[in-house]
């Protein structure tokens, strides 16, 4: 058993990536991601890992550089936040269309404007349809574990897709937590060297990223969609292997006291731990409430969500981003889509919470559940509400 150390989570993510035998990284600094890139560059400069750290002039260049390096067969990593991710936006679908197993850490942060450096999910949500596998972590240990798992998932011969690891900015990245690093020998066993499906090499010329018009484009998009959906099998297998080797179990959707719950609360990311405390207090007060935590954002775990949520009478979905002029929260929109064809559906309540770093304490979760549990709850069905917004 590896010993526990106290460490800032962003530093720990860089340490974990350093355990993955990467060949190259390109990271541009941006709060609250910067400590990941800074520490990774330290690891390279201090000779602790044998990799190239490319100092780029923007995030657009960072993602482009890792695409080029990945095309040569290298194991690559990048990380960003907020505006940096928005600047990468143009390139993200190219990485997935080229089926390059890039791993990216995202220290989730609100996008401007107004300028705000604190945590919500408005940076990753606009990247939803870029064809990347997208995983959310809830604490520092998960950030370490998933950062390592991500390489194995991305590089698997049945996947070959980029993976982003969503780590709530500040709430997670800047916390000092007790963390356990897996033994290097075990990581090496878990994560064998990458075997690329093709590489850029002068001795064996081929074309990556070729032009395709209407005669091919639909088939290529279909192949990409199937690849992303099909990746779930590998994700589950990798998580099984991780559980056997390291003892920590990962699932696409986690539950907490969900058994027999009439009301199920849904969270994604670090809010899950706050919600657990609220569930404990509510259960102690006799409220039949449980928690469902979404870990896998893409591919979306439709089967698991259907199985869990159809058992409840009411579902309270929390969202950390807004689909302006749309259905409310993006997570809630997916959940409604997942349940639409079910004969028996729960009533769904959607709260937009924690925007731009606004604190959501245990008492807020208790207040939301209490409102949904109340008699007048029917009034807010199929609508959404900004939790705690100041009114006139």
């Amino acid at each position: 058993m590896a010993k526990r150390v106290g460490m800032e989570v962003a530093i720990a993510v860089a340490e974990a990536v350093g355990q993955c035998n990467i060949d190259m990284a390109a990271v541009y600094p941006i709060t609250p991601q910067s400590h990941i890139g800074e520490h990774l560059s330290d690891l390279v400069a201090d000779g602790r890992i044998d990799a190239e750290f490319v100092t780029v002039e923007s995030e657009h260049s960072a993602i482009s550089a890792v695409i080029g390096a990945s095309g040569t067969g290298a194991r690559v990593y990048t990380a960003t936040s907020s505006q940096g991710l928005m600047l990468m936006h143009e390139i993200l679908p190219i990485a997935s269309a080229m089926r390059l197993p890039i791993v990216m850490g995202i220290a989730n942060r609100a996008v401007s404007g107004p300028l705000n450096i604190l945590n919500d999910h408005s940076d990753i949500i606009p990247q939803r349809d870029s064809g990347w596998i997208s995983i959310f972590v809830e604490n520092g240990q998960e950030a370490i574990d998933v950062s390592i798992q991500a390489f194995k998932i991305a590089e698997h011969k049945d996947v070959n897709l980029p993976v982003c690891v969503n780590i709530d900015g500040f709430q997670l990245t800047h916390m000092v937590e007790p963390l356990e690093f897996p033994d290097q020998a075990l990581v090496d066993k878990f994560l064998p060297p990458r075997v690329p499906y093709a590489t850029l090499h002068p001795d064996k010329p081929l074309t990556m990223g070729a032009f395709a018009m209407s005669d091919y484009f639909t088939e290529i998009m279909k192949a990409k969609d199937e690849a992303l959906k099909n990746s779930k099998k590998t994700i589950l297998a990798v998580w099984d292997e991780w559980a056997q080797m390291f003892g920590r179990v990962y699932k696409p959707v986690e539950t907490y006291k969900a058994e027999g719950a009439e009301i199920l609360v849904v969270t994604m990311g670090s809010m899950g731990e706050t919600a657990e405390i609220a569930i404990d207090e509510l259960r102690a007060a006799g409220v039949a409430v449980g928690l469902v935590k979404l870990r896998l954002w893409r591919p979306f775990p439709f089967a698991e969500i259907r199985e869990l949520l159809t058992k409840a009478k009411k579902v309270l979905v929390t969202d950390r981003a807004v689909s302006f002029g749309g259905p409310g929260g993006p997570v809630c929109g997916e959940i409604k889509a997942a349940l639409y064809h079910e004969a028996s559906r729960p009533a769904i309540y959607n709260y937009i919470i924690g925007l731009g770093g606004r604190d959501v304490p245990v008492t807020d979760f208790i207040a939301m559940v209490s409102k949904v549990a109340g008699e007048d709850a029917a009034k807010v069905v199929d609508t959404y509400e900004f939790l705690g917004v100041r009114e006139q």
Binding site: A97, M98, R99, L100, N160, Y197, A198, P205, L206, T207, M208, G209, A210, A212, S214, D215, Y216, T218, E219, I220, K222, A223, E226
Partner: protein, 96 residues
């Protein structure tokens, strides 16, 4: 639309759409896009080669007699050669 040159079903799309055979771009005849074709008047041509230099497609080549012509498999009919030809030896003529 040019003739389809690869697999039909989506299942046969290579991973990442990698094209494993080099040089296959030459099989895509961009000349099918052309609405106008360049026609050289060698009476006016001074063999300066400015058409060869400016052709964005790289499809203008010098012939054995020193004059120039375009490879119609790839000439898109953009007219840059005619625009740049200062002795006005190239005319753009409607196709068809």
């Amino acid at each position: 639309m040019t003739k389809r040159m690869g697999p039909d079903p989506w299942q046969e799309i290579t991973t990442g759409c990698v094209v494993l055979r080099p040089g296959s771009a030459s099989e895509y005849h961009t000349g099918s896009w052309r609405a106008q074709r360049p026609v050289w008047n060698n009476q006016k041509c001074i063999k300066c080669g400015i058409c060869y230099v400016f052709c964005p497609e790289g499809c203008v080549a010098q012939t054995e007699d020193g004059y120039f012509k375009a490879d119609m498999d790839y000439c898109k009919g953009c007219g840059i050669c005619a625009h740049e030809c200062w002795p006005r030896a190239i005319a753009m003529v409607e196709e068809g």
